[in-house]
Amino acid sequence: MKNPQVSQAWDNTRDDPTRPVELILGGNDFTSITEKVSDIVLERKTPRAWYLAFFASAGLTGVLFLMIGWLFIRGVGVWGLNNPVGWAWDITNFVFWVGIGHAGTLISAILFLLRQKWRTSINRFAEAMTIFAVVCAGIFPGIHVGRVWVVYWLFPLPNEQAMWPNFRSPLLWDVFAVGTYMTVSLLFWYTGMVPDLATLRDRARGRVRQAIYGFLALGWRNSHRHWHRYEKAYLLLAGLATPLVLSVHSVVSFDFATSQIPGWHTAIFPPYFVAGAVFSGFAMVGTILIPARKWFGLEQIITKHHLENMNKIILATGSMVGFAYATEFFIAWYSGNPNESFAFINRAFGPYAWAYWTMVTCNVVTPQLFWSKKLRTNLGVMWVMYIFVNIGMWFERFVIIVTSLSRDFLPSSWAYFRPTPVDVLTFVGSFGLFFTLVLLFIRFLPMIAMAEVKTVMPIADAHSGERRSVGDYHGDIPAHVRDGGDR
């Protein structure tokens, strides 16, 4: 605030419908964008903080693998599971991490189809986060099966029993949904990155780096005949990823919704899970993005306007989640089903009431502060809010899974779940793995989609004379789409 002129010039969150929003600030051109992003990887000395963060995360990753090793040696009894709570932190963590991934696909695919230009500054980062989150998620169902040495029975492979998996089970749908999601996200991310890898290849100075980035860039030479097919492929992948991302958390929710446990057996689960997934994913993107943009001096590219837009999505999806909580309660009462009513009263006032109200506070109450423009454009406030959402969404999955299981139909078998240190350390270790992958990505790959950012800069417009645009997204309909000339 010392220099009001500077801070005003960098504030592009004003709502002025007569002027297009400046998505890239500070008078950058193609050259400076290229330098700012690629120098992080190629020229800058690795900051000491990076090493510290990397060794801390790698240490936690080691803890994760130690815990998994211990689990393999001793069996799932090392967790706090009991009868009837046969699923607890393992599946909670799985759903938590899969949900985190959804923001990346929403930003890369859905906002692309909706022609939201602001996505270009954050999509690479969010897509990377998607992939790392799905890696973390995939570990948990893999290790919770008990007999891990026959985990390949999940896949339709010929095996010694001459038996096939049961396709009528939602757990098998999950294998296909998460597997497809991981694969398509990876293809989408890599496709988007190839032009930027070519930029790194062309700017790299050492032979080794030139060779590695050159190999990864597949010989990309920015030909427009290639761009033409590339853009078509990118559009198609976005079109494929959009229903896919909606399907993944729907299928995850079927794991619960198709069972008969009170509190699980509800038709609202698929949309409710998807809204929650987007909510938690945006919070995780923000959690990492705010420090990263500061440490690497990217405030002109990832502006407050971008963060404010993310916060609006968090407000919207958080309210959807709150609405879903209310609907669940209403239906539990309105259905007249005593088991269902009990399950919900038990959630809010039973032994897990502390977890339930933590969830409601973090997911429904505090995000409402984002109605205030002052709060949703304040970096400190939003970062704290992201942490709240991360906590709240983990608890949401815990509440759904554990409260329903711990008190189901037969009161004589009710039991309270307590995590063991192995449960806790496995979960903490999964954060280690996630941050290790994020740090490697920041260090070795282009964190911002340079080629895409260049397309949304005003100087990129080859017919600026006929441009009629105002705002974020109008007027960039390509000519061949506008005229219907393409095929």
Binding site: P170, F176, D202, W220, H224, R229, A241, A451, A479
Partner: protein
């Protein structure tokens, strides 16, 4: 002047632009001059350039459609054959093969097959990976991936004539006209 593709021979002539609008106008002129083996290179896809270059639509969407249909068929047949034919077993009274229960996997494999066709089809139609190309060995051309725009006319184009094409490129308003040599093996 005949251009050969021997080592060290002339591969193409290129000219460089700084702004997308000058570049696009120049592309339209090259298109109208009737060249066939030419290309435009830019650090990002310049909107409207498809028309300025006269590029026809790609057949990639048809490949993706065919592959997606294959995925749908594979998923349907696989679930039916595995659960209802090869090793039928009844679980909680469910039918051996019922469409509702088969839908999730049918959907996922449709998307998966389509995405593979899209990814590999696009790189295949673009002739990639191709790690060795005369343009990649040209020093000035490195800025094509950063902040400059290039028009390249290849020597194998039937209308190519070293002197006349050079003069034509110079008339387009670019900053420089340069020769691209065939890369020498090794």
């Amino acid at each position: 002047m005949s251009a050969t593709s021997h080592g060290g021979g002339l591969h193409a002539l290129l000219t460089e632009f700084e702004s997308p609008s000058a570049f696009m106008q120049a592309c339209a002129k090259v298109r109208d001059a009737g060249f066939r083996h030419w290309d435009a290179h830019s650090p990002f896809p310049v909107h409207g350039l498809d028309d300025a270059m006269g590029i026809r639509g790609t057949r990639l969407p048809w490949l993706v459609l065919a592959s997606g249909a294959t995925g749908l068929g594979v998923a349907t047949l696989m679930q039916w054959w595995m659960n209802a034919v090869d090793y039928p077993y009844v679980i909680s009274g469910k039918p051996l093969f019922g469409l509702p229960a088969a839908v999730p996997v049918m959907f996922e494999l449709t998307v998966l097959f389509s995405a593979f066709a899209c990814f590999f089809g696009m790189w295949g139609l673009n002739g990639m990976p191709r790690l060795h190309h005369p343009l990649l060995a040209h020093d000035r051309f490195r800025r094509a991936s950063q902040d400059r725009f290039y028009i390249v006319i290849e020597a194998r184009d039937p209308k190519f004539d070293l002197e006349r094409t050079r003069a034509f490129l110079a008339s387009l308003g670019g900053s420089v006209v340069d020769e691209v040599r065939e890369s020498v093996e090794g």
